[in-house]
Subunit: 411 residues, 2 copies
């Protein structure tokens, strides 16, 4: 039977394709510490469950395609608390940040159009671009520079008549890097000069931590692309409750922009898929309206402590290169191995410390350029500190024992 | 700012764009009987709410991209009760039937590819095709023939080297027509001869009713495309709990096919959007596992009575042409008016009977060919019988009073 060229060209998720090896390891009785996916162990606030349990209607009906008015009102209030002035009418509720990204690409890209994204990047950006027959053009960054953006002229050289947007993930998945205000101003200048959109993936906005001696400084406040007044009509904000409220499985996100025409175009696509889950929107409304500041502060403190713990442990492993990340819950580290995907499979199949092993995500999955990131690994600090210490000790022992160990990493 | 050609070309939902007129009418104190959208008033089974209220995990985590194993198991059991042999591995859980349709188009169509669909058809088919840059090629049908398919040679003439699939909605939205076994066999023959897929939208499968003197006969059992053994690897089943369990806002559907390679390609897209709502899948599992046969029988009996009531009332309106539909919960009727969209707006703005008016969906929204269906209206019998009788009486009075009334409809 026939398959489309577009689906044949699409790569399977580089994070999810190693799951069978982990299943096999567990089936053999090995304990696996999962630092490979961004699924936190943090509890979802009880307000979510209470609102859903208290839902009174007897028919689960369609709701507005743009999203429940009370949810959009609550999201607007949240943005205002960050000094980002989105009104309820500027917001479309989506099936997670994923659908918001897919919608944004459809609204702005025709086949052959291009989106600039700092590399390494979240692998699914590629899937959303390619299904729309648009292409990701990578902006190179380096572990040694904390994955910050290269100078303006490097980015400017990548812009063509087909460039439609620059996508900015801050705090970044997979690197944990937080863009500085100066970096965002530089991108805003390019967007204005070349008539581009800025797609802002800020789903980790709540998760920035103090950091010394690196760009972004020690405790600088987070700068959102939503803070830049003169590009408001061209900033497409992508957001999600998945990480903020540890509700990944709720699949509630949003797209927001100060641009009525853009919302009108987006709504055509929203209407085609009718609406987002009614009950999940009820739960999300409660999360936005009622979750205490204390919850978010506690979660931030917990992730910060985990980052410090994991970073310190990684620094103890000879040959590992990484900067202390300022946000999200990921560390992208260079390992002294020939190929991190082979190394991860080897750990699952052939290595354990007292019956335990660990798993990260291979770095190459976050690069569009072939062979880049082959000795990098993304580690998600989504487990408690005790587990992270054990996982890092296993990683250290595995690096020492791995047959494909390198003596030095080429920069 | 720039918008893609694809989004500019996309029409806003013809059903939803009249909503502001209804809002305005209600704001002026008019009561509006809504026969314009397929949102039933039937209660969602209590098993859905119970399962969600009893959910125990404290973190709403991602689940498998293909769908919860227990839900796919339950859906498989449901199909087996219909003698359709889908195994859990043949099924992908989706965000409603809508996402299943969008996935199917992406997996089989490249830009310029074509999908044959009997016209009139559900307007969003066009949106899913056009966002993938594929095109709907309409197969003409007529109200006077109960909207059944034309002879094989008429369809065969529409097939080109770019044709990828024939999409079959049975029972049909908007016409209520149920395909006969002979019609499906004819399509299966064409699919085999020309190497096409058959996309089967059977979300109204539970809703077929006895009917005399018309193709399909009186109480013939429903034939599913899933019953045809020799096209199993090319039938893409699209399904949903929205209508079956009156849970439109749950946004749980599925795509099923006996074709491992097809499921593997579809999974690449499912993985990109991570997963479908965890709690909604828990609720849907309970619906499939626990809803009594009695519930479905009661709902079927209720819709059948509503169909009979509405059909009888429509037959009392001079100049109205419609056949008694055998399924779903829609009647597509020809009215003696110049333009049903103008007529509906006129009813909302300028007409009432004791402060009450009614609303249907304009027929032209279900046609791809310009100017077709202009005097047709789709009426959804989603209200109780008393309300339907009142709505039909209002329609009768409105047709008599309408300035754009036609004395005879051209066939």
């Amino acid at each position: 039977m026939h398959f489309s060229e577009r689906i044949k060209a699409l790569q399977a998720s580089p994070i999810r394709r190693l799951i069978p090896y982990a299943d096999e390891a567990r089936a053999k009785g090995k304990k696996v510490y999962h630092l490979n996916i961004g699924q936190p162990d943090i509890k979802t606030p009880k307000e979510y469950f209470e609102a859903i349990r208290n839902f009174k209607a007897e028919t689960i009906a369609y709701v507005a395609s743009q999203g429940l008015p009370e949810l959009r009102e609550a999201i607007s209030g949240y943005y205002h608390s960050w000094n980002i002035p989105y009104a309820p009418g500027d917001i479309c509720v989506t099936n997670g940040g994923s659908e918001a990204l897919a919608l944004a690409v459809q609204v702005i890209c025709d086949p052959g159009d291009e989106i600039l994204i700092a590399e390494p990047f979240y692998a699914n950006y590629n899937a959303f671009a390619e299904t729309a027959l648009a292409h990701v053009v990578p902006i190179p960054t380096r572990a040694e520079e904390g994955f910050h953006l290269p100078p303006r002229r490097v980015i400017e050289e990548l812009i063509t008549p087909r460039t439609r947007a620059i996508l900015v993930s801050t705090p970044n998945n997979p690197t944990g890097t937080v863009c500085t205000a100066a970096e965002l101003e530089m991108l805003a200048g390019l967007a204005k000069k070349y008539g581009l959109y800025l797609i802002a993936d800020e789903v980790y906005r709540e998760f920035t931590y103090p950091q010394s001696g690196l760009p972004g400084g020690d405790g600088d406040p987070f700068t959102s692309l939503g803070h830049l007044e003169d590009v408001r009509d061209r900033v497409i904000m992508i957001d999600s409750i998945s990480k903020r409220y540890s509700a990944c499985g709720a699949r509630i996100g949003c797209l927001a922009i100060k641009n009525e025409a853009f919302i009108a175009q987006t709504l055509k696509l929203c209407q085609a898929r009718l609406c987002v889950s009614t009950l999940e929107q009820v739960g999300a409304t409660a999360l936005y309206q009622k979750t205490s500041k204390q919850y978010l502060e506690d979660v931030n403190r917990e992730y910060r402590a985990r980052r410090d713990t994991l970073y310190a442990a990684l620094k103890e492993i000879p040959g590992v290169i990484c900067e202390k990340p300022r946000g999200a819950f990921y560390i992208m580290a260079k390992l002294p191995v020939d190929d991190s995907e082979k190394f991860i499979i080897w750990m699952l199949q052939n290595f354990d410390v007292n019956g335990e092993t660990m798993m990260g995500a291979p770095g190459s999955g976050f690069y569009a350029v072939p062979n880049r990131g082959r000795n990098e690994i993304r580690l998600a600090y989504v487990l408690n500190q005790e587990a992270l210490v054990k996982a890092a000790a296993i990683l250290k022992a595995a690096v020492a024992a791995y047959p494909g160990r390198l003596e030095a990493i080429q920069a």
